[in-house]
Structure formats: structure tokens, C-alpha cells
Symmetry: C2
Subunit: 402 residues, 2 copies
């Protein structure tokens, strides 16, 4: 297990912590984490669209509305998702925010809540409360705090996932940092995705929300491990303004958007790489579709096909599975106009396969593979990232017991 770097507290204005409260079964493992912004931050978030959605998601949505995006802290627990827990779950999520608010002396609605872990079981609130007390007492602005936070949100992750970026405007440096947990969107029992991004840019909640939505659409919404969406998925962005650089439109806005996109995509790709038991990531590019929507339909059909994913595991350049997944997905498609490249190597065109060279076989064996399907019809394009399905995927998901 790699040690987290602790990047989340690098942008100015943030403090973080993590504590072990005994929610997870392994003793001593951190399972409560707090991220705070003393001066108050602009906050924006994107949540799961699953209609089965956990209490913390409902409470965080409420709080963002009530506080008009003025966020002072985020409290997270791992080991229990507080999902499918009825009214008691709602009460518990509210208690988590209220207690954190009281301890930090900020309004409860300025605190967001996130949970991840088993579903359908009530939170052990005495332990959670002890954890929150410990975490708020040890909040720290240095990397140590960031590291404890990164560890406190993890569940089945094989490695911590962090990314950062920075840019300068008129000689002033703006920092962004992000941490994510999740080994695929493979909820609901283990692997919710929780992402937290901090920045010291000065940006309004509404601009932050617009840029976050755009960035998530290009990153977390482009990855697929098994096409299953969690009840708890949450991506929060907080902007402290401590850099003094105002981000709105024009040059600073562009630079900020670019840096945010970069952080989100790097976090997203680490999730695919950690996709349960995965050994290989494929970037599925589709171009030449009638529209972008049709290109995405085809890219997702390929990325979610268990046949394509098992071929990826076996490092087999299986052009037939890729092309026929697209052919069946409903997009405009003409066999004769379609071509497929694996890496740079043409493997299918004019309705027929090309001999698979040694170079193609080698390209398939890399940790990262690119499939480029050109439908030869229009200008629509899309890209989706996926991973293989191997024996470990089956083991992890079949041997898990409710």
C-alpha cells in the first residue's frame, strides 16, 4: 500500500484530519475524516443520480442549498454508507453535520456529510461521534493532516488516489488538489466514489458549480468499471479564496478550468486503474459518429461489454467484440465505413480484419491500451475509460457476502 502524499491541504486555507473510531472491522484503521476551511469556502458538489440515494447525500444537498454554497467543513466516515437506513439514517447524517459544526463553531448547514461502506446497516453513532471529536481536535494544515484525511476515506482501494495542479495569474500562484476513494463505480456494498477537491482560488459557488459539472462530465462520468452507480457517489469542490486570485471568466477562468479538469481526470483514471482486480485500462475513443451522443453510446457499449473486458484481461486484440458491440448499440453504423485501431495499429477496415501483427499483440499487453473506432460517418466523437474483468473481479464480487 502506497502512502498518501496528503495533497488536499496544499492549497492555502484548508486543514484536514482523520481518526480511527472502530467503524471498520480492522482495528486502528482511520475511518472518520474531516476537511475544514477556517475562513469559509465557496462549495459546489455533484452527487449520485441513483434514485436509491444515501442519507448523507440528501443532507449534503440540503445544506448546500441552505448555506447558498458557503461551506466550512466536510465530515466523512468510511466503513458504513448510511444508505437504505430510513429515517434513522437521515437523523444520523444530520447529527454528524451538527456535531462537526458545534465542535468547529460553524453553522450545521455549512457542513457537508459523506459516507461510504456497507449499506442497510445503521451507523454506530457513538463510535462515529468519538471519531468526529478526535478528528476535529487534530485538524492540521500540513501534509500530515492531508494524509490522515486520504486514509480515512478509503475502503477497498488498493492505493491512495491524489492529484494536484497549479497555475499563475499575474505572478500569483493558484493551487488545486484532489483526493478520491473508490475502486470503480461499483457500489453499493463497497466502492462508492467520494472525491474532494480543494483550491485557494477565489471563485463564486455558482461558477465553481458550473466548472465542476463540466469537469465531472469529462472525468468521473467517462469511466466505467462495471456500469453500476453507487448510492453515495459524491464529488465536492471547495474554494478558499486564500490565493487572492479571482477566477471568473477570461484567462484566469480558462486556466482554472483546465487545472480543475486535469485534477479530476487524473483522479478518475486512478479509479479505473484500481477497478476491482483490474490489470489494464483501455481508453475507448470513438470518432466519425453521426453525433457526439451516438459516439458516446458506442464508446459506452464497448467499455461496458463483458466480452471486451475479458478480452482486455486476456490481452487479446479482439476486434470482433469491439466492432460488434458498436454495431449493436443503436448508433448509425456502416460496416464498410468503419475502421478500428489498437494503439496506432489498424486491425479492422472495410468490413474485414487486418492481420494482427506482433506490434498489436504487444500493444494489448501494456497497462494502458487505446481502442480507436472510426465510424466514418460524421464528426461526432467521445472517449470512455474502462478496465478489464478478470478472476479477481469475480473473486472480490462473488465472495463478498451481504
Amino acid at each position: 500500500m502506497k502512502k498518501p502524499v496528503g495533497v488536499i491541504t496544499r492549497p492555502a486555507g484548508f486543514a484536514a484530519s482523520g481518526a480511527s473510531a472502530g467503524i471498520k472491522t480492522t482495528p486502528g484503521v482511520p475511518d472518520v475524516a474531516v476537511l475544514a476551511c477556517e475562513t469559509g469556502a465557496s462549495g459546489a458538489a455533484v452527487f449520485t443520480t441513483n434514485k436509491v440515494c444515501a442519507a448523507p447525500v440528501k443532507v449534503s444537498r440540503e445544506h448546500l442549498l441552505k448555506s447558498r454554497g458557503q461551506v466550512r467543513a466536510v465530515v466523512v466516515n468510511s466503513g458504513n454508507a448510511n444508505a437504505c437506513t430510513g429515517k434513522r439514517g437521515m437523523r444520523d447524517a444530520r447529527t454528524m453535520a451538527a456535531l462537526t459544526g458545534r465542535l468547529l463553531d460553524v453553522p450545521p448547514e455549512s457542513v457537508l456529510v459523506a459516507s461510504t461502506g456497507v449499506i442497510g446497516q445503521p451507523l454506530p453513532m457513538d463510535r462515529v461521534e468519538t471519531g468526529i471529536r478526535r478528528a476535529t481536535e487534530t485538524l492540521s494544515r500540513d501534509r500530515k493532516g492531508g494524509r490522515r484525511f486520504a486514509r480515512g476515506i478509503m475502503t477497498t482501494d488498493r492505493f491512495p488516489k491524489e492529484a494536484e495542479a497549479s497555475f499563475t495569474v499575474s505572478g500569483k500562484r493558484v493551487r488545486l488538489a484532489g483526493v478520491v476513494k473508490g475502486a470503480g463505480m461499483i457500489a453499493p456494498n463497497m466502492a462508492t466514489m467520494l472525491a474532494f477537491v480543494t483550491t485557494d482560488a477565489r471563485v463564486t459557488p455558482s461558477v465553481l458549480r458550473r466548472l465542476l459539472l463540466r469537469g465531472v462530465a469529462r472525468s468521473f462520468n467517462r469511466i466505467t468499471v462495471d456500469g453500476h452507480m453507487s448510492t453515495n457517489d459524491t464529488c465536492v469542490a471547495l474554494a478558499s479564496g486564500a490565493s487572492g486570485v479571482r477566477v471568473k471568466s477570461g484567462r484566469s477562468g480558462e486556466k482554472f478550468a483546465q487545472a480543475l479538469d486535469e485534477v479530476l481526470l487524473r483522479l478518475a483514471l486512478q479509479i479505473v486503474r484500481d477497478g476491482e482486480g483490474a490489470v489494464r485500462v483501455a481508453e475507448v475513443q470513438v470518432k466519425g459518429a453521426r453525433t457526439d451522443v451516438e459516439a458516446e453510446l458506442a464508446a459506452r457499449a464497448i467499455a461496458d461489454s463483458p466480452l471486451v473486458k475479458t478480452a482486455l484481461f486476456g490481452a487479446d486484440p479482439n476486434w470482433g467484440r469491439i466492432v460488434s458491440a458498436a454495431g449493436a448499440c443503436g448508433c448509425a453504423f456502416t460496416e464498410e465505413k468503419t475502421s478500428l485501431r489498437i494503439g496506432r495499429h489498424l486491425i479492422y477496415s472495410s468490413g474485414r480484419p487486418r492481420p494482427a501483427s506482433k506490434a498489436v499483440m504487444n500493444a494489448m499487453k501494456r497497462e494502458r491500451v487505446t481502442f480507436l473506432l472510426d465510424l466514418g460517418i460524421g464528426r461526432g466523437s467521445s472517449v470512455v475509460y474502462t478496465c478489464d474483468i478478470g478472476y479477481d473481479y469475480v473473486r472480490l464480487n462473488a465472495e463478498y457476502h451481504t
Copy 2:
């Protein structure tokens, strides 16, 4: 390996055969099969809707149109799908029909063609032609012919799949029989679905087509092994009329439709049971949806979820994966109105799980499991049949090499 019963020739008017031509790599295995109707039959067929579609599918479509549904024979080869083979593939499929027609002294357009096996490789036509000659020479009306036919169409099937049904109208017996090959719709490399149904009812091609479409919608289109549609999928029905019983509307039509549905569903369920490496079949029933379409959307989301399929393999009553697959699929959904039963046992209701009893654990271990999800909103319902994904699925599909 079970021995086929050879039911396909039981309805009067049909003769069948199979021969070994060396198309498959294993020597001595039958790989060419012919089904003939001396007096001519009404024919109808349903083909793959994949836009990557094999030459024999294109030729059979053409022949059905040209002959106005007057079919004299079907010629099949296994071991090579004649898909993604360009112009040469079209020429080869036409040659298969023409040679069979010449040998049986019937017009080429009264012959349908089907192929299954590897894709992207030209047919070894000398061998195919030898096989067709051998098969037509040994056509037989008894079960032996039916058995050779059943064996000649198989590829990765672990067992032969046959079903029959009969009914009487005014004391006259009408027989229906069917044979299918395929271990899931898991094409394109191995497991195309080819289905052939014979009957001695007297029925026009247009009525037969209507009933076949309806029956396929309720059977083959309700099963999913990995959501992948083959380039070669074909379901042919032939009605010889030899029973003298005319089927049109009213009582005889109803009885016939019912018997046809029964044969098709029994064949379809055998495919799911044989889903590559599968140990367990799940019947996913959804009711209480806003519409039938939304019910089907939810049923398919559950049936195609790799998480649900691995839980099925592990015999885990994982209500969370089932309910959240439905919650994310886009259908109208309210957590509090939703309930889930595994077998007869309530396991989730009012937004919360119920304790999993010993009885539920036992229900999950059976060879056939029923999930009943009631969305509690409207009157829409649907059912989809699926199988588990286990280690053997990964082995079969990852170790296969193009």
C-alpha cells in the same frame, strides 16, 4: 455431453442430416447440417439486428423475400461464421444455398443459410461443399437425422438444446419441435444463437412470421448472458402443413401460438443455463413499474449488471446491488415504495433491508432463482432471464484468442 434426442424431424414432412467436413478443428465432429422439407414449407425468420451482420444472414433475408416465404431447405455450417468476410463471404453464402438447391433439385432462393463459428476468416469452401454433399445424401426423416442435425450446428455448447410440443385440433395432432445452439448471445467469436423450429401445421408465411416475432420477443429477446448480440443470430421457423391442420386465427391459432411460445421459451432458457460457465439462472421479474417499457429497462439493468451476476455466482442475496441497479436505470423509482423478494422471501421494503433468513440463503443456492422487484408505482411489468458470471466465464472469454 448429453446425446441429442433429434426432435427436429418429429413434425411430419421434414428430413435432416449432419456431416463432418473438417471445418472445425476437432476431426470427425459434424459441422455441416441440412434440414429439408420435401413438399415445401412456409418459412419465417428473425435475424440479428446487429449492423455488423454476417453474409449468410444477408443472403437468407434476400431469399425469404424472393421466395415469398416458400422454403425448401436450410443449410448450416459450424466452425466458421462467414462474418466480416466482405464480398467473398457473400459469394460463399450464395454458393452454399445454390449447391444445396441443386443437390435437392429446388430453387436456390428456397434455401436459407446459417453459419456460426470464428469470424473474419473466409469459409474453406471445398470442405463446406463436400459437407453439403454428404449431408444431403444422408437426409433422413427419423430421429437419427435430427440428431445429426443437432450435433452439426453446435459450437461451444455444453449440451444439445431441444424442445417439442403438440396439441390437437378436432382429433388431429399438430407437432412442433425446435433445436437451438448457443451458450449465450455472446458472439461474435464463438456463440452465435441459431434456432430452428419445425411444425407440421398448415400456416401461411405471414401468420408464421407474426407468431414467430411475438414468440421470439417473449423468449430469445428476454435472455441475456452478457448483453452482446451476435453477427449471425438467426431463428428460422418452417411449417410443412403435413398435419393437415390449418392454423390461422381462433382456437387453432391460439393453441399453435401457445405451443410455439412454449418451445421457444424452453429453448431460450437452455441457452441461459448453458451461458458460458454458468452455474445458476435468475428470472428477474419487475412489476409495479410506470410502464412495461420501464419495467423492462429495470429488469435488463439488473440482469446485465456484472455485480448482480457475480453475486448470483456467489449465491449471495445481495439486495443492494439489485435495488440500486434499478434505481440508477432511469425508470420511475421511489425507494419507499419499492420491495424485493428472492423466491417468496421479502428481503427489502420501505427503503430498508429485511434480515436475510436461512430460507433466502437456500433459495439463492438453487439452480434457478427468482428476483421479484415491485416498484409500487404503476402496472408495468416485465421478465428477463440471466445467468451468473463466474471464473469459467472469465476463463472461456479471456483465454480465447483471436
